[in-house]
Every structure is written in structure tokens, then in C-alpha cells.
């Protein structure tokens, strides 16, 4: 359990990147998975979980005021959960925890934004000091929020799924395939966003051929 604190700190930093600070996209699941994996001592597991979640969240953008699954904290929870599970159950149960926790963490982002609305000063008569204090406080609260959300998520997810891991019936390849079927929906959505299958179908087909050939090299 001692890694929960470390992972919560990673979750806090990555949660900041998602909206408040930088948006360098180190909060994207693939990167967050590798970073969380480095903390738990399993970069390969972290990358595997992160890649699957990246596929799911490929069509989820931090755009405007929309509520979206929070990928950063969700990925840290997913990797932190997968790291304590043995065998083929680690990937599907970790990813499932990530998908669920991402939704819940999204509500905490919405709550934070409402809180920020009360924190920022009214424009009339605002001073530079008041504005700076409120702005920096909001960033600090966001870090705290992301850290707490990650920590709670880890504790709850580990307690919940650990008893389920031993009975997982699929092998590791089938487990990955099951998750990739859901991820394929995201790729279809992205084709839709890019103009639809009629407009982009031949490019996708060329890409599929190249990708399949690439695996043979």
C-alpha cells in the first residue's frame, strides 16, 4: 500500500497537466501508463494498460466545458490496480477499473470548475494580488483533487477486484482481444470524425495493409 501515496502524487501531477497546467499531454493514457508503471516497477504492464485506455479515450478531448472521462487519474488507478494482480486478469481488470474511475473522476473535474467559479474574484475592482492568489489557489486545489481521486480510486479498486482475479477465465491474448473490440469502436468513431468511411476508407485500407505488413518485419 505504500505505493498508493507515490501513485497519488503522480496522479496529482498528471491531473494538473490535463487541464490546469501546460497540457503537454503527459496526462494521455499511454504516457501516464508508462509513468505509473515506472512507479510500480512494471513499465511494460503500464504501457499495455495505457495503450488500451489510449485507444478507448482517443476520441475524448479536454474540449471547452464538456464533461469527459479523466484519463490521467483513471490510467494511474488502472495501472496501480493491474500491478497488484497476477496473471491474465491484470490487464482486463485494470482497464475496467480505469474506465469506471475515469467517469467518476470526470464528475470531480466538474465539481472543481464549479468551485473555481466561487474562488475567482469579481472583475469589478479586482487587484493583481487577488487575481493571482485565486488563480494559484485553484491550481493547488486541482492538484489536491486529482491526488485524492487517484488515492481513493486505487484503494477502492484494489479492494474490489483482487478477489475476482483468481477466477478470470480467459488467457492473456484473449483478454487483450476482448478489450481491443471495445477500442475498435473508438477507431470507428474517429473515422467518422475524419469524414466517414466513404471519404477516408481507402486511406484506412492502405494503412491496414501497411500496418499488417509492418508486423511481419
Amino acid at each position: 500500500m505504500e505505493d498508493v501515496l507515490l501513485l497519488a502524487i503522480v496522479g496529482a501531477l498528471l491531473g494538473l497537466d490535463a487541464t490546469s497546467v501546460g497540457q503537454f499531454m503527459v496526462s494521455r493514457p499511454l504516457v501516464a501508463g508508462v509513468l505509473a508503471g515506472a512507479v510500480t516497477g512494471g513499465v511494460a504492464v503500464g504501457a499495455g494498460v495505457g495503450a488500451v485506455l489510449e485507444l478507448y479515450l482517443l476520441v475524448s478531448f479536454p474540449s471547452g466545458g464538456a464533461r469527459f472521462p479523466e484519463g490521467a487519474t483513471a490510467t494511474v488507478v488502472a495501472v496501480g490496480t493491474a500491478s497488484v494482480l497476477a496473471g491474465p486478469a491484470a490487464l482486463p481488470l485494470g482497464v475496467t477499473c480505469g474506465l469506471l474511475w475515469g467517469q467518476l473522476a470526470g464528475f470531480s473535474v466538474t465539481a472543481q470548475r464549479k468551485f473555481n467559479g466561487r474562488l475567482v474574484p469579481d472583475p469589478t475592482g479586482v487587484t493583481a494580488a487577488q487575481l493571482s492568489r485565486a488563480h494559484l489557489s485553484a491550481i493547488a486545489v486541482d492538484a489536491l483533487r486529482a491526488g485524492v481521486v487517484t488515492g481513493i480510486g486505487l484503494v477502492v479498486a484494489r479492494m474490489t477486484v483482487t478477489p475476482l482475479a483468481n477466477g478470470w477465465p480467459l488467457d492473456i491474448e484473449e483478454s487483450r482481444a476482448l478489450l481491443l473490440m471495445g477500442g475498435a469502436v473508438s477507431l470507428g468513431i474517429l473515422v467518422n470524425d475524419l469524414g466517414g468511411i466513404r471519404k477516408r476508407g481507402w486511406l484506412v485500407a492502405v494503412g491496414i495493409a501497411l500496418g499488417a505488413m509492418g508486423t511481419l518485419l
Binding site: 474562488l119 475476482l164 487483450r176
Partner: protein, 272 residues
Amino acid sequence: MASGRRHRARSDGDAAVSDERPVPRSLSPGARIGTLLRSLVVQGSWNYRSMLGSGFGYAMLPGLRDVFGEDRYALERALERHVDHFNAHPYLSGVALGAALRLEADGAGDEAIRRFKVAVRGPLGSLGDGLVWATWLPLVALAALAAYGLGVPGWGSALGFVLVYNVGHLGLRVWGLRVGWESGRDVGAVLAKADLAGQTARLQPWTAGLLGVVLGAWVAGERGLGGLSPVWLVGAALAFGVGVAFGHRAWRPAAVVTVVAVVVLSTWGVLS
């Protein structure tokens, strides 16, 4: 920093404020760097009331201090204009920051500055969403996923993603602040000439091709469905078709089905 002296008179309700002060023709290096760094946290206090407004005001402070010098009264009146409601794509907020600072330095009136910000916030939001969230981010993420699917180690794919993505990201931020300051109220013409929508359209075929590479690598590769029963491939093809047919409406049901499938399978495994 070059400075000139000009008469500053506000054409709005603040007309009583008329003074002589040095107006910078160029922001000092410190103010430029300060504004750029603060633009990185422009969404730090994002909220449903003023949206980006408070962050916008916070990011403008180094530049406003350069423009208004020791005149705290004028600085805080300017701050009132910029803490008000505003929204834009965060990476392109520098365009509005630079242009608004230029308008302040040129002594534009309160109403003119407010009108300018209202005029640019929509285009800066939609252009940024289209170029960055809907095109650049998926393009680089797909490239990283393709690399991972083709056998590149996870850390290498992640590192490559961060490096390549941020070349575009930081380049856009630096460019935006520069053209905003240089163009002031004429920044709309510069944005039109830069043809960001056209750049988006030109990148999208590459995104579609890379999406295909990811599919191909995951269908045939060891990190995907390679070597498994064709049933899984048929299932993945159907899922892909559902995404194409229903668009974003399909995302949540797909995630729910995945979660339910995993929970049912694991519970069944424990009970049996």
C-alpha cells in the same frame, strides 16, 4: 525595449483617464517570457462563470505591468477588462493575449478591447479544437499506438509521443503570442492567412492512414489479435463498424459493454 510617448485617452466611460505615459512598442523579454509561461496555466482557474477569463487576466499581468509601468490604477482598470468572461482554445489563447496586450499598449478604448475579445473567442476556440484536439492529438497518438503495436517498447512510444506532440503544441503557443502582439486588432487577417483550417484539412488524411496502420498492426501483431481465432477479428470488425455508423453516440455503450463483460466473466470465473 523601445518606448514612445503618446497621449492616452480612453474613448469609453473612463474618458476622465487621460494621461501621458511611455507606451512600449515592444514587450520586454521578461514580459514576453512571463506571458508565455503564464499562458501555460491559462486554464488553471477555468470555471463556468468566466471560463478562461481569470486565467487570461493572470497571464496578461506581466505584459500589463510592462505597458502601464507604475500606474497601478490603470493596470487594475485594464485587469477588470480581461478578468471578464472569455474562452478560447488554450494553445491559441496566446493569439488573444498578444493582441489584447497590443491594444492596451496602443491605448485602445475599453469598448474596443471588449469587442475585439468577443470577436476572436469563437474562432480561436473552433480553430484550436479542430486543429489540435480533433487532428494533431489523434495523429500523434495514433503514431505512438502504431509504433507500440509494431513492437516499439512502451516507454519509447510514449517518449516519442510527448516529444513530437509538443513540437507542435509549443510552436503554436509561441507563434500565437508573437502574431497576436505584432498584429493587434488585425490578427484576424493573419489567422486567415495562416489557414489553420486548411492545415487541419491537410493533416486529416494522414490521421486516417495512421488509424489504418494501428488497425493493421493490432489485427496482425502479437500485441493485438494475431494468432487468435477469427471470431475475435469478426467481433473487432463489427465493433469498428458500430463506431463508424453511430459516431460518438457509440462510445459510452461500448465502454459499458466492455466493463459489464469483464465483470460478468470474472464473477462467473470465481463462482464456477
